[in-house]
């Protein structure tokens, strides 16, 4: 493969790569604001200037400049090489690039940084970007000096409401146009544009429109500074107190890779933001997914329910045993409901209980009803693990839950053991159908129709509180990490299934997640988290 040299280091590039892209892939960071690996090149911030050596045998392109000579106390003529923006310059075989290694580049970066901060309010204490702001980072790395401009800065509108989710601060904006390009290129809704010129320019929304498509929060995320803030996260937390877990978004079957940022001191999730994955979501997430982190704490089932009343886990398990008495007499009268909302591990545990121990014949799958999808990321299927359930329980394929209620009406079953709280059908129908049965036990993270209709409901952890594997619509099995501590009495779904199995007198032995995973894929060695991490360098633009 053809290579270029950056500061003496050979790095390979692909046809059509720009310098910054090749460097980014190799893990070399060339400072940048306006470039984003997923967006077109604008080359307007000039932070990525590098020095490119002339081709062999050709003179370097030099510019005549005046440089201050402190001894002569006057400007003297001097020459300096013409620098090029690395985000726009295409790679050519054998090209030599000086980035960190060039004094001219260092000087240029300091100067660009000073220019960007000339009119910047630097209200970092109020700014939500503080702690993860490029301006702060690069100032420290490349400038580190005060600004020389003495005049009052240009003031522009602050706190302009762009839409239901986004607030814009023109003073902080460095007009990198990332947000403009994002709405036009990725969200396919070009409603942002730049107004005015020079230091008066600002971002505006098209007249009579609001920034209200499905990807508004992404504009906030691509903004390298604190100019765009999301109303949801504004002023809620300071980023340096947050920890990030590598999760899989639960919003739909796309399974976008995400970080769940949470405050470990209060056990509260604060935001979801995309994690780069070329194959699944590239760099993006939709609003629905980014806000879905709230479901980790909202509407939760905090304690076990027996007949609608709070109970301890032990009592609930004992009650479940009573309810399910007689289950062994006729396995054909037992229906087991898997959940497309739960991880593979939870479903596998229930499947083991159903097939290996109880000998149940009929499997159903519950989940959230279909919703809106689009061409960009969102799937119509709003469940993160539909494919996972289908793969686990391949023969016979689980039937949709509507069929369960019909079968119950026909008097086919006496017992239901179910995972998950969400069903696609009318809650009333479900409740009236389930109330006819002898025993209904659900294991659910949320308070939903299935949990309410059950005689016994066991509180499961939500996805943010447990490690789990989810198979997205492409068939990729992806791991989601635990972020929060379990709320209330909640335990992981597979553990509850295992406890329930034991209570019923079966030899269910799952004690740790690793055991469940080993049982699922006996031949594969248990993948360690560190190996996972090493395989994918974490890059973010």
């Amino acid at each position: 493969m053809a290579t270029i040299k950056i500061d003496g280091r050979e790095i390979p590039f692909e046809q059509g790569d720009t310098i910054i892209k090749a460097a980014h892939r190799a893990g070399i960071d060339i400072p940048h604001y306006c470039w984003h690996p997923g967006l077109s090149v604008a080359a307007n911030c000039r932070m990525c200037l590098v020095e490119v050596a002339p081709p062999p045998g050709r003179p370097a392109l030099q510019l005549d400049i005046l440089r201050w000579d402190p001894e002569k106390k006057d400007y003297v003529p001097a020459r300096k090489p013409k620098l090029v923006p690395a985000c726009q310059q295409a790679c050519a075989p054998g090209m030599e690039v000086l980035s960190e290694g060039s004094d001219h580049v260092e000087e240029a970066r300091g100067a660009v940084q000073e220019l960007l901060l000339l009119n910047h309010p630097v209200d970092c204490p109020i700014c939500d970007q503080a702690g993860e702001c490029r301006l702060q980072d690069y100032w420290l790395e490349h400038q580190g000096t005060g600004k020389r401009m003495q005049q009052e800065v240009v003031h522009k509108p602050k706190a302009v409401v762009f839409g239901p989710t986004i607030v814009y601060d023109a003073e902080r904006c460095i007009v990198c146009t990332r947000c403009v390009r994002f709405t036009a290129e990725i969200a396919k809704d070009p409603i942002l544009s730049v107004r005015e010129r020079g230091n008066l320019n600002e971002i505006v929304v098209s007249p009579d429109r609001e920034l209200d498509h499905d990807y508004t929060l992404m504009t906030e995320h691509v903004c390298p500074v604190g100019a765009l803030t999301s109303k949801d996260f504004r002023f809620k937390a300071r980023v340096w107190f947050l920890r990030s877990a590598r999760t899989i978004c639960q919003g739909c079957a796309t399974g976008c890779n995400a970080y769940l940022d949470y405050d470990p001191r209060t056990n509260t999730p604060h935001r979801h933001r995309p994690r780069d994955n070329e194959e699944v979501n590239k760099y993006w997430m939709c609003d629905e997914g980014m806000l879905s982190y709230k479901r980790a704490v909202e509407g939760r089932l905090g304690a076990a329910l027996v007949g609608g009343e709070d109970a301890s886990l032990e009592d609930a398990l004992a009650a479940a045993k009573d309810q399910l008495a007689g289950i062994k007499d006729d396995p054909a009268r037992v229906a087991v409901v898997l959940s497309a909302q739960h991880s593979n591990e939870d479903n596998y545990a229930l499947l083991t209980l159903a097939k290996t121990f109880i000998g149940a014949k009929d499997l159903y799958v519950s989940g959230r009803p279909l919703g809106r999808g689009d061409e960009i990321l969102m799937s119509e299927d709003k469940n993160p693990n539909t494919l996972g359930v289908m793969q686990l329980a391949n023969a016979p394929a689980p039937k949709p839950i509507a069929a369960l209620f019909d079968a119950i009406k026909a008097g086919k079953y006496s017992f239901v053991i179910a995972l998950g709280a969400e069903i696609e059908v009318e809650a009333k129908d479900a409740e009236s159908a389930l109330s006819k049965l002898k025993g209904v036990v659900t294991i659910a993270a949320h308070d939903g129709p299935l949990a309410r209709a059950a005689h016994v409901a066991l509180p499961a952890t939500a996805w943010a509180e447990q490690d789990g594997t989810y198979v997205n619509r492409q068939g990729l099995a992806q791991k989601s990490e635990r972020a929060l501590k379990a709320r209330g009495d909640a335990r992981p779904g597979w553990e509850l299934v295992s406890k329930l199995g034991k209570e019923l007198g079966y030899a269910m032995t799952f004690k740790t997640l690793a055991e469940v995973r080993r049982a699922m894929t006996p031949e594969a060695p248990a993948p360690s988290r560190d190996a996972d991490r090493a395989a994918k360098p974490e890059v973010s633009a």
Binding site: P157, V160, R238
Partner: protein, 224 residues
């Protein structure tokens, strides 16, 4: 070879009698036995000081105990009527400074609670209410709590504050309360305190965006 633990010279080595120099007891002379002469000698010193101090006090010759603390003569003070001045930078209890309009200067950036090694500051940020001129672009502390009993008076919070919103220039000692609850200082109390000069504001005024004194800002487009 495993390292021997060095023996502790102050403990008796096992199985050995204690070695050492025998120190003779002081001789119990009649003078010491009869303690009265020693008592009188001590009393004499006390009385000498008593009369000297009384004389100096009467004649107004008492040196200023605050400024001439190292001089001869009376060096005690009648606290709390007399107080030694604290140095300029003495760290007393905290206070929150106010803007001219009475709002807290604090913008709930949490820099102080981040810097606090005792982790005794708890802040919740909030947005100003609908209609407030700072609504939308500025935050303020909804709650601001300092646990003064945990505080180690290091002053890091004051150093960390980018807005000069928290200060320890009240000149007040931690007061001896009798319950922990009383040491939990909340926002209202912290905003009540004044600096030693009696002012609630800070000596570093600043043109806040939104103030009429702030140059060049129009808020026409800023409905929120």
């Amino acid at each position: 070879m495993p390292k021997r633990t060095p023996s502790n010279p102050w403990t008796k080595p096992a199985g050995k009698p204690i070695e050492g120099k025998a120190i003779p007891r002081p001789r119990r002379t009649a003078e010491v036995q009869a303690y009265l002469p020693e008592f009188l000698r001590g009393m004499a010193i006390t009385m000498r000081h008593f009369f000297k101090n009384t004389k100096e006090m009467m004649l107004g010759q008492k040196p200023d105990p605050v400024l001439e603390a190292l001089n001869e003569g009376v060096t005690t003070i009648c606290y709390p009527e007399e107080k030694r001045p604290y140095p300029e930078r003495f760290r007393g209890l905290h206070r929150l400074t106010l803007r001219d309009d009475g709002s807290p200067r604090c913008v709930a950036c949490l820099c102080c609670s981040t810097a606090c090694p005792a982790q005794c500051i708890h802040i919740e940020a909030g947005e100003y209410a609908e209609g407030d001129k700072r609504r939308g672009y500025e935050r303020y502390p909804k709650t601001f709590v300092i646990d003064e009993l945990r505080c180690i008076f290091c002053g890091f919070c004051v150093e960390a504050c980018p807005c000069d919103a928290i200060r320890m220039d009240t000149g007040i000692h931690a007061t001896p309360y009798d319950s922990r609850e009383q040491f939990i200082y909340r926002k209202d109390l912290l905003m009540e305190f004044t600096g030693r000069d009696g002012s609630r504001t800070s000596a570093n005024p600043r043109h806040e965006p939104g103030d009429p004194t702030h140059p060049g800002l129009s808020r026409e487009q800023m409905d929120h």
